[in-house]
């Protein structure tokens, strides 16, 4: 008998016991009607070939293992970054169960979000009644300071009009007339979660800046810089790092959406459904800022366009990770604020460069495949070039032609970029073919990459959302010089581990 009370075997070892191995074999032989082992082996080999790769890239409709999610996920994440805000999704309820689970699995945190549970009757008659009743219930039960409404594809297909519905709800006194209900239409058949993030931030701003009749003083600067962080699985730590830099520089700022508290609440006996977030008063006042910057272009295109139309200077970045990317962000903030970059930060930079110089020989010429959201992939590739690595395959399922052009321009800036290629709108099954036909030394992406690591043997470094199978990585920053140092160490660790495993002879104590 394989099991015992003293040495309890769970799934990790139990199913390797002879009783189970034998049972599996008998099941397969007698009942499963499987293809022969030879056929399976032959097909597995075939998928590694150039011929298969060509067929794979000839796909036009089937999407296999994409690395992107849908709009409302980004909208829920964005909404959570505002003080006392309850994300509210108008449409089918299953979507909300998925968003909450998805974010909870990554952040290891509770993810409050409500649905108005539209079903068949709403599909026929529209979801107005659901919204009227739903807003009232949310307002009464959860006592939020703002409700931020996004939509599922069901509500979008039937054409529900949030603006009109919310107005009607207020007329029917679901919520007080002056209670903030911001909204964004977030059809999941357009763009991805990064688009949804952008739409929701814009929706929140336009509620306070256009709809609410508050005291706005456009033109009279409050001296602050608005920062839109973008959809970021590391937001908890990265936002804090960013705030540290701003404080260090003496820059007055407003993060437009900050989940660093609500997605990282303490365990002390009290569950905080709301915690931190951008104060609504600060959002109101953000129209009077000196400038607005987006840390991730593809998460803030529309919002920045909207902000620019209000007369503010804007700038956007591609996820400030790595040396040059952090330099550029700090210099821009310095330029906009008129505050110099202090020596303390310059020293941090110097320490990062010191570490890179110490380790450069171990990274020089390493080929790396990268996948993730467009801004992350851009930043990662740029940092790899700075370290003398070759970001050989750069893939973003939610990247478009513009992004690919930006990537090609980036490759052209460095000799290490020669032979590197950007793959917009491709999925991880495409990447599998790339890795088999043109292998790399490392793979950087999310937990989804673990299947590629298993099939190809190329070590995976988890550096972007979602990370489900490793704990707490997101609690440490990747942005800024400190973040870059941490990214450097993670990459080096995998290189050293691979080197140690590769040869008994070269099993060196000192490297």
């Amino acid at each position: 008998m394989p099991q015992s009370a003293e040495k309890t075997k769970d799934h990790v070892s139990l199913f390797q016991e002879p009783e189970y191995v034998g049972m599996f074999a008998a099941k397969k032989a007698a009942f499963e009607c499987r293809p022969s082992d030879e056929a399976v082996a032959a097909q597995a080999e075939y998928t590694k070939t150039w011929e298969y790769r060509e067929k794979n890239f000839a796909r036009t409709k089937a999407v296999i293992n994409p690395a992107k999610a849908c709009q409302p996920l980004g909208a829920v994440f964005a909404a959570a970054g505002f003080e006392g805000t309850m994300p509210y999704v108008h449409g089918s309820q299953g979507c909300v169960a998925y968003f909450r689970s998805h974010l909870a699995r990554h952040f290891k945190e509770a993810v409050p979000c409500v649905s108005d549970s539209m079903t068949e009757d709403a599909a026929v008659f529209g979801g107005l009644n659901n919204l009227v009743e739903g807003l009232q219930n949310t307002y009464t039960l959860y006592k939020p300071k703002m409700i931020a409404v996004s939509t599922t594809c069901m509500a979008e297909v039937i054409g529900d009009d949030l603006s009109a519905f919310i107005a009607t709800s207020k007329e029917k006194e679901s919520v007080p007339a002056d209670f903030p209900v911001s909204f964004a239409h977030t059809p999941s058949f357009v763009g991805s979660h990064t688009t949804g993030y952008d739409n929701m931030v814009k929706g929140v701003l336009s509620y306070f800046w256009d709809r609410e009749k508050g005291e706005l003083k456009p033109g009279a600067s409050n001296g602050k810089i608005n920062i839109i962080p973008g959809f970021d699985g590391y937001a908890v730590a990265n936002n804090r790092e960013l705030k540290r830099y701003m404080d260090e520089m003496g820059v007055d700022y407003t993060l437009l959406g900050d989940v660093s508290d609500v997605y990282d609440t303490p365990s002390d006996g009290t569950y905080r459904m709301y915690d931190g977030g951008t104060p609504l008063e600060a959002v109101r006042d953000a129209i009077n800022a000196r400038a607005t910057i987006g840390l991730q272009q593809y998460c803030s295109d529309k919002t920045l366009e909207y902000v620019a139309a209000k007369g503010q200077p804007t700038a956007s970045f591609h996820y400030p990770m790595g040396v040059g990317a952090t330099d550029a962000l700090l210099m821009k903030i310095s330029e906009l604020s008129g505050k110099p970059i202090p020596d303390s930060i310059e020293k941090e930079r110097g320490r990062l460069i010191d570490a890179m110089a110490d380790s450069q020989a171990w990274l020089h010429g390493k080929k790396v495949a990268v996948f993730g959201d467009p801004d992350f992939v851009y930043a990662m590739a740029a940092f790899l070039l700075e370290m003398g690595c070759e970001p050989t395959h750069c893939l973003a399922t939610n990247g478009g032609k513009d992004w690919a052009e930006q990537m090609e321009a980036l490759f052209a800036t460095s000799p290490f970029g020669a032979g590197c290629k950007a793959w917009p709108a491709k999925d991880l099954w495409h990447l599998r073919s790339l890795l088999f036909t043109e292998p790399t030394d490392l793979l950087i992406g999310s937990s989804y990459g673990k299947y590629l690591e298993k099939d190809t043997g190329i070590p995976l470094i988890r550096l972007t959302f979602p990370i489900f199978d490793r704990h707490h990585h997101h609690r440490f920053p990747t942005m800024g010089y400190q973040g870059a140092l941490r990214v450097l160490v993670e990459i080096l660790d995998r290189v050293f581990e691979s080197t140690d495993a590769a040869s008994d002879i070269s099993f060196d104590l000192t490297r």
Partner: protein, 485 residues
């Protein structure tokens, strides 16, 4: 022997009143029908858990339920390992459900098995406007080219499919003709019904309509042939179950749908008996097989030694004396393991209280497993149960147990806060809020990445895990020492 105890009816009723007071009037009226306290029933040894169930969630309250797509793709079809399952519609549904139910299987991913893959038609705006049928047609050819060893393809509809009037059945028929393979269209759009539950039903119907009698593999029947129905092999659950059945001399000719192949589904009507674990999600197909093929079905429960022994005897009673004698041998064989597990953990867990809020069968099925360890159930409820589930629950829970159907996040948190049980068993969405209150928690959908929990082998793991959760040193660290009074 199950434990003999009752819970405090009056305080449970007061709790219900307290939470209902927080709702607007209309919502309070609706929610009141879903909350109750188990009362003594006329039937001996059972309580009455009378709540309304399987009706629409009220809007805006953080229901924990999912949708029909989750019930079909996520539960019933997704685990069938040698088929490719298309999440047909926008990218999200397939993405969020990708590899999340831990339906274990043996096979080579992307070659002859496809369980841990996310295959989607990734609808764009033009698909909504012009329809997705043509692209689906092309997509099926592409999948056949990418995965030539697949045995079939299922089309799992997401919300837009039913709204834009696509005819996926026509596409399925056409592609079946062209490829000769099983192509199964499933109308499990997320807006249908009120929860995952209708998705189970629709998925069951799709098996009936698109798999049965569409070519059954060559097969010689035997007197002890059974199907193991509605075990999704989460963390490998179905395997210790299968082992027990084989040890008592039965031949499991089909496992549904954990670690299943299409052949095992197609062959099922040739069995002598269906053994069903999750009644909620697959009773439909069992009833169909009973009506159409005269195959009886038996509900069983492989959580904890009390229920396992009772179930083994109940199953054996359907067969001859040889099998019955074997069942006794199996029970006796595992008794030392059961004794060792209870000796080790019961002293650490006795009188600990448990609140459950889970899906299909577990709100009742796991209660005796806890009681086998000396623990007491003080509250339980179903995400998507029906009336017949609550009737069955009466045989499991004690008087005074708090019963909550389609509980809202607000209610569950309030109940936990007031009752402060020693353990909560629920899902990922509930886990972190509960733990932050300082209340130990185990995910009882995914087994919190552990398992299997079924069978005797699983009981040892179950006991270990519950002990681990409750007796972790971390719970004593919540208050900073300078704050401790």
């Amino acid at each position: 022997m199950s434990l003999d105890y009752t819970n405090d009816t009056a305080s449970a009723e007061a709790l219900i009143r307290d939470v209902l007071d927080q709702y607007p009037e209309k919502a309070a009226k609706k929610r009141a029908r879903h909350l109750s306290v188990a009362k003594p029933a006329e039937e001996e040894g059972a309580t009455s858990c009378g709540v309304k169930s399987n009706i629409k969630s009220i809007p805006g309250v953080m229901t924990i339920r999912g949708c029909a797509y989750a019930g079909s793709k996520g539960v019933v079809w997704g685990p069938v390992k040698d088929m490719v399952h298309i999440s047909h519609g926008p990218v999200g549904c397939g993405q969020y459900s990708w590899s999340q139910r831990r339906n274990y299987f043996n096979g080579t991913v992307g070659i002859d098995s496809f369980v841990t893959m996310q295959v989607t038609s990734d609808f764009q705006e033009r698909d909504i406007v012009f329809g997705g049928d043509k692209n689906l047609d092309v997509m099926i050819d592409e999948l056949d080219e990418m995965f030539p060893l697949n045995k079939g393809i299922s089309i799992q509809s997401e919300c837009p499919i039913g709204l834009i009037g696509d005819d996926i059945e026509a596409v399925a028929k056409k592609k079946h003709k062209e490829t000769g393979k099983t192509i199964v269209p499933v109308r499990c759009e997320g807006f249908r019904g009120v929860s995952q539950s209708l998705g189970h039903h629709i998925a069951n119907d799709a098996i009936r309509d698109w798999v049965f009698e569409k070519g059954t593999p060559e097969f010689e029947t035997g007197p002890y042939d059974v199907n193991l129905i509605a075990d999704y092999n989460i963390g490998g659950d179905a395997w210790p179950s299968r082992k027990l059945l084989e040890e008592m001399g039965l031949r499991v000719i089909g496992m549904w749908s954990g670690d299943a192949t299409l052949a095992e589904m197609a062959r099922a009507p040739k069995a002598r008996l269906n053994l069903i674990h999750c009644y909620r999600s697959m009773n439909y197909i069992c009833r169909h097989m009973e009506e159409k093929y005269g195959i009886g079905w038996v509900e069983y429960n492989f959580f904890g030694p009390t229920q396992i022994a009772a179930s083994l005897r109940k199953i054996a009673a359907q067969f001859d004396e040889t099998i019955q004698a074997n069942a006794e041998k199996v029970i006796a064989r595992y008794q030392p393991l059961v004794d060792a597990v209870t000796a080790r953990y019961k002293p650490r867990l006795t009188d600990k209280t448990v609140m459950l809020y889970v899906g299909g069968l577990r709100p009742r099925h796991v209660t005796n497993a806890y009681e086998d360890l000396g623990m007491k159930i003080v509250g339980t409820g179903y995400e998507f149960g029906h009336n017949d589930d609550y009737q069955r629950t009466g045989h499991y829970v004690k008087e005074g147990t708090l019963i909550y159907d389609d509980v809202t996040g607000y209610e569950l948190e309030a109940f936990i806060e007031k009752i402060r049980p020693d353990l909560v068993g629920s899902g990922i969405k509930e886990k972190y809020a509960t733990q932050k209150m300082g209340v130990p928690f185990r995910q009882m959908h995914s087994w919190d990445y552990s398992g299997p929990y079924h069978g005797y082998d699983g009981f040892a793991i179950f006991a270990r895990d519950m002990d681990m959760a409750i007796n972790s040193p971390v719970w004593s660290k919540f208050k900073a020492p300078w704050k401790a009074a």
